[in-house]
Symmetry: C2
Subunit: 147 residues, 2 copies
DNA sequence: CTTGATGCAAAGGATTTGCACAAAT
DNA sequence: ATTTGTGCAAATCCTTTGCATCAAG
């Protein structure tokens, strides 16, 4: 087991949960995907391993609670992705309203600018902001071409 | 009927839909709320008028199609609010993770800055962006106090 | 009279829960 | 042993759909 997984194992146990084979498999899928996944996408990848849908839901709920994944809701469908701290403070998602594809937008400069804006919101409204979801809607480059 | 409502009536009829009493009642609730409403919040306000839940869903779907309302999804719950063009190009929502309240954040300067950032995203990724949903998550001022 | 709209109830889809059994400490 | 986790099926919640009827043009 590599270093990272044992880190997660410790986190689970510290909070009174067991790091079972099922949770390990589900977590690895999300880590390896490196993008957002829906419950069904996760379930499809692991269904041959005899893991029930309810277990997927329960694991995701737990991961969320422990703050290791992030849930993104797009048109009533939920997607999940890892929270990664270094160099990727937040993820911006773009949805094409023509082809419905969802694109991850990741750009350090942009992220920094968004963070500055968040600071401003915090100050002006007396809030603590610790997470942001930004969802852009429009037409992607492919759909701009074929019209 | 005031000017605004007759504008909506025309919009509906131009698109082959009737401006019924039910749609009028539902639309007025959203206009008067001046904030985001869930389907249940809308339904509760009008249920005494003998309007079915299905009609609420159908009307919201239609309003969305005609682009007069905007749908916001927060943790699998959908909220609806008017799209207002003048001076309110976008709405930023903040959700307190302690008390679950949702606060509308509206500030012209902030909106302008966000729009600049969106331009940057458009250019760098060759996209057309025409709508943005920004959702901040954190702790509200009330919950910051009572701890 | 023709077309779209409505209310109701049934259907559908996503998510959660109850329960008996299995696994881990 | 005790506690937590799992798979399955049933239950629940939100949303959509089918159908008979109603209303508007």
């Amino acid at each position: 087991m590599d270093k990272n997984l044992s880190w997660y194992k410790k986190l689970f146990e510290k909070n009174g949960y067991k790091f079972t084979a099922q949770k390990r498999i589900i977590l690895l899928e999300i880590i390896n995907a490196n993008t957002h996944l829906s419950v069904n996408e996760i379930y499809d990848k692991i269904r041959q391993k005899n893991i029930g849908l309810a277990t997927v839901y329960r694991s995701l709920k737990l991961f969320n609670e422990l703050d290791i994944i992030k849930q993104i809701n797009i048109d009533t469908v939920s997607y999940y992705e890892m929270k990664i701290f270094s160099g990727k403070p937040l993820n911006i998602h773009f949805k094409c309203s023509k082809c419905d594809s969802i694109i991850d937008i990741d750009n350090k400069d942009l992220n920094l600018e968004y963070i500055k804006l968040n600071k401003k919101v915090e100050e002006e409204n007396n809030l603590d902001v610790y997470d942001v979801n930004i969802m852009l809607i429009g037409v992607c480059s492919k759909c701009k071409e074929d019209k």
